[in-house]
Symmetry: C2
Subunit: 432 residues, 2 copies
Amino acid sequence: MKIKEKVEPKPTRYLGERIQEANKLAVERIFSVEPTLIDVGTALKVIPGMTSNTILHAGPPIEWEMMCDPMKRAVCGALIFEGLAGNEKEAEKLLKTNKVKVSPNHHHDAVGPMTGIISPSMPVIVTKDSTFGKTAYSTFNEGGGKVLWFGAFGKETLDRLLWIKDVLGPTMKKVVAKTGGISIWNILAQGIQMGDECHNRHTASTNLLLKSIIEPLLSLDLSNDVILQVYRFIAGNSHFFLNITMTACKLAMDAAHNVEDSTLVTAMSRNGTDFGIRVSGLGNNWFISSSPYLLDALYNPGYGPDDGAPDIGDSSIIETMGLGGFAIASAPAMASFAGGGFQEALNITKQMGLITLAKNPKFAVPVLNFEGTPTGIDIRKVVETGILPSINSAVIHKSSGAGQIGAGIVKAPKECFTKALIAYGERYDLAA
Amino acid sequence: MKIKEKVEPKPTRYLGERIQEANKLAVERIFSVEPTLIDVGTALKVIPGMTSNTILHAGPPIEWEMMCDPMKRAVCGALIFEGLAGNEKEAEKLLKTNKVKVSPNHHHDAVGPMTGIISPSMPVIVTKDSTFGKTAYSTFNEGGGKVLWFGAFGKETLDRLLWIKDVLGPTMKKVVAKTGGISIWNILAQGIQMGDECHNRHTASTNLLLKSIIEPLLSLDLSNDVILQVYRFIAGNSHFFLNITMTACKLAMDAAHNVEDSTLVTAMSRNGTDFGIRVSGLGNNWFISSSPYLLDALYNPGYGPDDGAPDIGDSSIIETMGLGGFAIASAPAMASFAGGGFQEALNITKQMGLITLAKNPKFAVPVLNFEGTPTGIDIRKVVETGILPSINSAVIHKSSGAGQIGAGIVKAPKECFTKALIAYGERYDLAA
């Protein structure tokens, strides 16, 4: 009896219970969020803290000078789109003057995939959580080719951004209003049954979105030409739903943030230089490491790991919420990007079960007998097991402006979790 | 040496080789078929042997008197729709006079799900195989409710059939022409990746069809009202693609039919009374047994196995072609109708591999590491192993006209295969 008392000193045991309760609450908050796509707005008007000279970017905070080449290109492209600079040289000059502010999406209730650039006049998706009342924002996904989100820029980029602003945004605003709001979990839950892992594969979810919006699109007083343009743009981009998914996951994880004592990871994000995580019980601090390169990836012909920028984007909010890499068993084709097959996909999802706190009943994985997706990363479990969160990602060229050059799987760096655990120890005075 | 010669007498060995070659050829013919939805026509005008007083039905041949109640109801409904009878009593009277001919779809290059009724003025899907040049036909799927294919009939049935004839058929004829033809394997191959087994679940395939037809639908000179009606009808029925799949499978199996020596099953079909199969090397004979009841099924509240008619429909042409029940590993939710989970679904697909001749490279099953679906049932393997073809099916009420009351899994009766094997022995003089 005496020995037992010694190995379980009361204060520690007390904290253990507190952590368990806190994490339970945090997970409950994730599961109770009900995100609905309710509107389309202009970034400047709707995003908190947005100003006419702010450019939002993916990942933890970073100075202009420290940004990787594709992020820099995308920021310059956005400044040209905004009319704040005439060309890339002017844009770079402007960025050195401090007349332009760069700020992380995550600090403005926003998220963006890859470079994640949001500039003031871009139309943005407005997603609202009806449970806690919070709102999250993202751009419309630009699709493939020379696009800002892949750190590429050219005349076609500008033309597309203008079309998104002048045609897609206003049309989708009317369409979304007509639908009365689109439940995002509903579409993702079906997507998981239909081969999407809801990060790199959104084929089914995008089709389901199309199904939700065709009737409103047809019943609005729009020209056939506009209807066809909007339809073709969405139908031609299987990633269209990605940005929408991200807003929903952002809301779920923000709902679980700032729960005292909780060791739950509420954000993983990368700016192409740094990889950062936030933890529910540790406030708004980012725990940072160098962003990893994608070694387990399928590269376009002529490209390899040496050509890629480090991992980039806010899209890992999807894995933070238990989809994407955590749900890869539902989309084994995604494992093949990293040279694996079905068994590898199944193994990854099962492994993610070892570092998470719960199974999300909303997202039943058919090949796991409809068990929910592993959700809620616990920094303690990551450090204890050494199993790192698995993220499905894309690779963009590090310097040429070629845009996407591959796709694959990357593991979150352990250092972020170790740093967070140390900070947790200090914050909650674990020594005592 | 002498003993060896005795146990392998030359004539038998010779036949074994011939069977192997014949089956190889038959399978090659299945795999080389390229079915394209190319047109919509009127049954009377396009279906071979159709006359103004013919009603086509599912399954092997059957007399009016021997039909089950739901099949009878559907035949009567079709006669009323055709204006050949004013009500069900008149229709029944007419059927006893021999002024109306009932004939199996399979004898007219056609197929239909459940009761499978096709009457002269119905619009039909026209699917052509560009490899061998043959054509197959089916109706448009009516969806749920009081519908002929489920052996139900009422005013709403007539209204719907008239709308299909006057609006859906003519519109889809224009739409299909505008597309230049829709590749059916292409859609099914994607469907298999997206949780369809392509018989009881066509959710993804129907969405993919919608994706193929929205642009033509919008670019034709149609009223918005018609566009919306057609869109809603298709989007509101996840079985819409079923009949299209069936025409493609019919073409594939007809291409493999009449290969001398082959033991490959080229049709399995049920009329609600009998279950019949045809075999490639045995001409146009049907090998018949009583149609089984669906014991492994999920029934609507208030209904059970005692309420269902025996298994019915030409749709088992899908299993004959290696999809549906044979591809159930891609749609484990379908196994849950029969009380099973993912493992059961996987087991069924693996078992079907033991009675089939090949794996179809067009239809890669993700959870089997993208191995093809088991295709080409060999009557010898069924009889030898005792493993019976597994068919995903629906149940309709045996007498009340209530329509569908459940869905589940049924096994083809062994008797059909035994009879076929005996006939094969006689036909090819296996005694020698």
